[in-house]
Subunit: 428 residues, 2 copies
């Protein structure tokens, strides 16, 4: 008789219930694969009386997730509540203090408190696993931490917020504007309670910070991720980008450069015929580049009951099989504290300006760019009926710092209306 | 002072030298990630005097890989020789008998002798790891065995021979025929010594058999893979498929059905706008479908020094970290022996016939299909200058067994010249 792996599951929303369902439905398969029964001892959620579609009577119930986390009949604390403070943090700390392993889907908690939690876990020989925190069902944490462990990672890129990718691809597909699709997402339940977590890039930024830590051996540092949301992207930007052979994606990019760690989550142009450019709807994609492997692309559902529960189960099966690894792939105490790169590597940029229609206006734009040493690859001015004319520019490669000088000059000039839109063109 | 992991590497071709280079270049990184030094004790190859571009003087040399495999200063035998009999098999068996773990890139050896080797390994508590045997740098064995362990796998598909995909995509891109591109691949060194391993689908079939074993908990059974090569694909097939919105790929498909295990490696039509359809050149792609995760797509380089060495290093790092798992994901003695499904699930088919140009010919074709209960979705007959007219047909869904009855009737008729081409249209 082998010893079962006993779980305590805190949080019985979509993902928590998905995990319970798999453990019931696939009990025999899980035991065959891991060599031992995987069982649930106890569960916890805010409301014990809520109908969740399945009976939970066979499990002990705890109102307090901290009480769940420290139960004697729990080997692994499965944290599926969310939130980077409050009960999720308290219960995770309590579980580690009580010598439990932790499996979590909580990207915010780890992106912000991951270093401290990893150190706490390692001090007692416990592990924290978080496959479900990044890119839903895609086994990207495992691929990066283990499968590609022989590589010096040179760049990580990813589309890791399905809602943003849905909005951006639906804008192009349906010709609707950002606001209409944002509203639609709200109705479809695709938005977080605070929608800025999605459209402001925060949620995807949490995920990027976790991958960057593993990739570059650095402390997770969400506060050093440069964040820019998709709220200012217009249908015109989408269509112009398409005309030039690009797609606009909320793209995370992390690189370790001589000037520091670069972590950006921002709308970027990518080639339409690249795997990232071809990614439609709510699907996620992560691109990993390493000195040996060149480029690996992972694609899959970024959210939803089944896919996220699949990731949680992957971690649980690892623990059942005795596969134990440091939280971010190497001892937390050895992770480096690298400053944020103040400016990213040079890239071409896409600019959109609203130009006041008066003689010499375009010349002033060209001069402002030239004065900052930003050279123009392509420029188009469109005919128009409004008092301002849309002007689109693709620059040659320059740094963002250089570009910002030109943008400030443009904004201060008397020929540009409002703030120009500037999107990086990420080379693949 | 931590104990180093000591390797014996047999085979110093492209991959072997790639592994040696990474272990030298990334010694510090590997030690940081695995917590211990990864070192090479000894190497072995056929010709000790050959210039391999790097000095191997610091390692002990063995002419005989069996002698290497059993050395006291070797913890892990790294088998990069290839071949499913002879020295590779003998040395692998010797290594396991001597209590060593094995890391191998040898798909043929494992597809044919994997069951016996896995049983031998498990009897002594040793492990065999083979990430590099399937799809080069893509961490697909790990993703399937570990990351997706919570899923009942419903289907595995893959383009896993870069040479075939190069030929097929170059036919479309350049308008050259199969023979010209086959010759070009020979000159570029893209073909195995026996080219039938590539273009006959054998190499990719080995890989499919390994993935199917993990996915479905079955004994690896290469002898039950239905193999069909790409040698009969014409430029006309490629162009017609493209006209209808498809691409032709040498596609591996494995499914466990009520009628048995289905393993096919054959040219198939896939939608041009799907990830598989968009895959160009020598790149590999594996699609994994599970009851919880829905669909995950992994894409990356299928061969080459760096990518294949990356996969070997992934396995080595796992062993250095103490991550040990059964060869095919569960105890080999528990793997099931499932008969091959005699006919696959129904699918639409693409047919190309050469029709003798005489009155009533097309009617006879339609009748032969109808008599076998194969119904026609689309049919085109082309104008022509030859004595036979090309006819292209897309059927509605039918089983291959049903289709074969129709194909036999067509071949036996007096209106069809030669053997019709029949390609499955794989639904994604």
């Amino acid at each position: 008789m082998t010893t079962p792996l006993r779980l305590g599951i805190a949080g019985l929303g979509t993902v928590g219930i998905g995990v319970v369902k798999i453990i019931r439905r696939q009990a025999a398969l899980l035991e065959a694969r891991t060599g031992r029964p995987v069982v649930i001892s106890a569960v916890s959620a805010r409301d014990a009386s809520k109908d969740r579609g399945i009976s939970l009577d066979r499990y002990a119930w705890e109102n307090d997730p901290v009480a769940l986390a420290v139960r004697d009949d729990v080997d692994v604390f499965v944290e599926l509540m969310g939130g980077h403070e409050g009960p999720a943090k308290a219960a995770t700390e309590a579980a580690l203090a009580a010598g439990k392993d932790v499996v979590t889907a909580n990207k915010a908690l780890l992106a912000i408190h991951g270093q401290a939690l990893a150190e706490q876990a390692e001090a007692k020989g416990q592990v924290i696993r978080f496959e479900a925190a990044v890119a839903g069902g895609i086994p990207v944490v495992k691929s990066l931490t283990e499968g590609l462990a022989g590589n010096e990672i040179t760049r990580i890129m990813g589309v890791m917020n399905g809602t943003c990718n849905y909005i951006l691809t639906q804008m192009q597909a349906t010709g609707q504007g950002y606001n209409a699709l944002f509203e639609e997402c709200g109705k479809l339940g695709y938005l977080e309670a605070d929608p800025n977590l999605d459209v402001g890039g925060i949620d995807a930024g949490h995920k990027l910070a976790l991958l960057a830590s593993i990739a570059f051996g650095t402390k997770p540092a969400f506060d050093r991720v440069q964040l820019e949301g998709i709220q200012r992207i217009t249908l015109e930007d989408i269509n112009q980008a398409a005309d030039m052979g690009f797609r606009i994606k909320l793209l995370g990019v992390a690189q370790r450069t001589a000037r520091g760690l670069e972590q950006r989550m921002s709308p970027c142009l990518v080639p339409a015929n690249s795997p990232l450019g071809q990614l439609e709807g709510g699907t996620n994609m992560v691109v990993i580049e390493g000195d040996a492997v060149e480029q690996v692309v992972l694609r899959g559902p970024g959210a939803g009951e089944g896919p996220t529960a699949s990731a949680v189960l992957g971690d649980i099966c690892d623990l059942a099989r005795g596969l134990r690894i440091a939280t971010f792939g190497q001892p937390a105490t050895g992770l480096q504290d690298i400053p944020a790169a103040q400016t990213g590597l040079p890239a071409p940029y896409y600019l959109r300006l609203a130009l006041h229609d008066k003689p010499g206006a375009l010349a002033k734009v060209a001069a402002a760019l030239g004065d900052a040493a930003v050279s123009i690859d392509r420029m188009r001015q469109y005919s128009h009926s409004e008092p301002t004319a849309p002007v689109l520019i693709v620059t040659h490669k320059c740094t963002r710092a250089t570009l910002d000088i030109a943008l400030q000059a443009l904004e201060a000039s008397d020929v540009v209306d409002g703030t120009p839109v500037a999107l990086r063109i990420e080379e693949l």
